[in-house]
């Protein structure tokens, strides 16, 4: 295969990996603080992407044409609204179920996800069909000998990387991050240290859901199209990525996200019929990894649960 095409695949793989990582980090954060899997996570991403789209339409109707302003307001609206939605889900449905078996939380978040998804499909105007997502990033490109490096892709990748670096700083350098990491190790002792546990849970769900909204907007900008099912798919992939990375470990989730994208890319490049089987290939390898390392590549929780 020629280098130009290969570079194209790598770029696409990096972009997918970034989105998967952003979703996987959410799963791993929620598991860290509450030991639960929140299955509505992917659908929160969908709602976030549609919130951004609706914001764009509203801004256009108001006559605001600057794409920089449009994009910033869309991001702010989507991330803010999803952070709020995530906190509401935690407050209203997840925290009250703490004394119930974990299976109940899993089931209730699965149902919330379905409700969110169906609400987008039924109540967003013509929501059952794919919606064009505006091109708001500069479309310039640099030709690197058979490979067009697109500026918008570079911006998306850099922005995604910046978001992950910021999250990293929040977790490792702030008091809030200290509390989140403490809750993940020992909830009760963290409470005894004077940490308001419920608030940490709500903030963590807000952060994770905000990241999902960001990934949703990224998805829209990359494909220039969104539909009500994107979150369902990204949710399953993000969950798998978090699991193979080692649930509860942020680095594991990021690694898992990029690994899954790499598998898809390898599948698309090396298999006959090209991309048709890339998901089959990627999920098959994930299953193999799970059989080989049941607690993930970077196991987090097992060492503590002696």
């Amino acid at each position: 295969m020629d280098l130009g095409l290969l570079a194209q695949y790598v770029m696409n793989g990096l972009m997918l990996g970034m989105m998967y990582a952003l979703v996987a980090v959410g799963f791993t954060l929620f598991f860290g603080v509450l030991d639960i899997i929140k299955f509505s996570h992917g659908d929160v991403l969908t709602v976030g992407a549609f919130t951004a789209l609706a914001t764009f339409i509203a801004l256009s109707a108001l006559g605001i044409e600057s794409s920089v302003v449009q994009l910033l307001v869309m991001l702010l609206a989507a991330i803010g609204a999803m952070a709020f939605l995530g906190a509401v889900i935690a407050r209203a449905f997840v925290l009250p179920l703490r004394s119930a078996p974990p299976l109940n939380t899993l089931l209730i978040t699965l149902m919330i996800g379905t409700v969110l998804r169906e609400m987008v499909r039924l109540f967003y105007p013509d929501g059952a069909n794919p919606k064009p997502f505006p091109r708001l990033l500069p479309a310039d490109s640099v030709n690197l000998g058979g490979f067009n490096l697109r500026l918008d892709n570079v911006i998306l990748l850099v922005a995604g990387a910046l978001v992950i670096v910021c999250l990293q700083l929040v977790l490792n350098k702030t008091k809030l991050g200290l509390a989140i990491r403490a809750v993940a190790q020992d909830e009760e002792t963290t409470k005894i240290m004077g940490v308001n546990f419920n608030r940490i849970v709500l903030v963590t769900f807000a952060i994770g859901s905000g990241l999902a909204a960001f990934a949703g907007v990224m998805n829209g900008l990359y494909y220039n199209e969104i539909n009500f099912g994107i979150g369902l798919y990204l949710g399953v992939v993000g969950f798998s990525a978090a699991i193979i990375g080692g649930l509860g470990n942020i680095y594991g989730a990021i690694l898992g996200g990029f690994l899954f994208a790499a598998l898809q890319t390898i599948g698309a490049v090396s298999l006959p019929f090209a991309s048709a089987y890339k998901d089959v290939f990627a999920f098959a390898v994930v299953i193999a990894i799970m059989a080989w390392r049941p607690t993930g590549l970077i196991p987090e929780k097992t060492s503590e649960r002696v």
Binding site: Q185, D186, E188, T189, K191, I192, M193, G194
Partner: protein, 240 residues
């Protein structure tokens, strides 16, 4: 001691039941301000449940808990801590993946002033030079005795008015146990009210000002250490 006021801890008719063997049945006791009050009792007598009730981790079904004029009953744990109550939990419970310093900083979580936190850190490092040498070591990789230092240091980082200490000598070598009791005395001399839960009768009574004996969730004896040391309840509570 009926009208205990000031910064005393007053547990008044507390009953706590939950899905574990330990329960409390109408427990009343007072940890007088500035004193060391101990609670003796064998395993399963309800000692830890009482600590959990005071901290709001397992709120009581009946009765009241007051400290320094604040009714703690039913408050979430972080509000209890805000009232000046700290706890050195049973089994030390250090954060294994945090460094020594991160563990200590967790203790000062409710303190927002950086200079105050730095002062408290220096003080803890003066008490435990061993920890000062190992600020950046992960707590999970340290010995039981060192983890005990972290746990005590973390409690001191809270600068509490009342310190609840749950079984500090459990699992420690005898020489460290002795060190621990000396340290508790010293903490108390700095003006911190201590409520000490222990199984180690003799050394506990030796440093306490007043004591209670808990058996099967009830207070079965109380008095000065000298008096308690001679009662049959103390012996029954452990050997009966």
């Amino acid at each position: 001691m009926s009208e205990a006021s000031g910064d005393s801890l007053v547990v008044d008719g507390v009953s706590t039941a939950y899905d574990r063997a330990d329960v409390l049945d109408n427990v009343s006791l007072t940890a007088a301000a500035g004193a060391i009050t101990c609670l003796l009792g064998s395993n399963g007598s309800g000692k830890t449940t009482l600590i959990r009730s005071i901290l709001g981790l397992t709120p009581p079904n009946k009765g009241h808990i007051r400290f320094a004029g604040v009714d703690l009953t039913g408050l979430p744990t972080h509000r209890v801590v805000a009232a000046g109550v700290a706890c050195i939990p049973e089994g030390r419970r250090v954060f294994p993946k945090f460094t020594v310093e991160e563990n200590l900083r967790m203790g000062a979580y409710q303190e927002s002033s950086g200079s105050v936190i730095a002062e408290r850190l220096e003080r803890v490092y003066r008490i435990f030079p061993r920890l000062a040498e190992r600020r950046q070591q992960l707590a999970g990789t340290m010995s039981g005795g060192e983890q005990a230092m972290i746990s005590i240091g973390r409690g001191l980082m809270q600068a509490p008015k009342l310190l609840l200490i749950d079984e500090p000598s459990l699992g420690l070598a005898p020489i460290l146990v002795q060190e621990n009791f000396k340290l508790i005395r010293r903490i108390n001399e700095e003006g911190i009210t201590v409520f000490l839960v222990e199984q180690n009768v003799h050394q506990t009574l030796a440093i306490s000002d007043y004591g209670y004996v808990l058996a099967k969730g009830r207070v079965v004896a109380q008095g000065t250490p000298e008096a308690l040391g001679k009662t049959k309840e103390v012996h029954e509570a452990y050997f009966g």
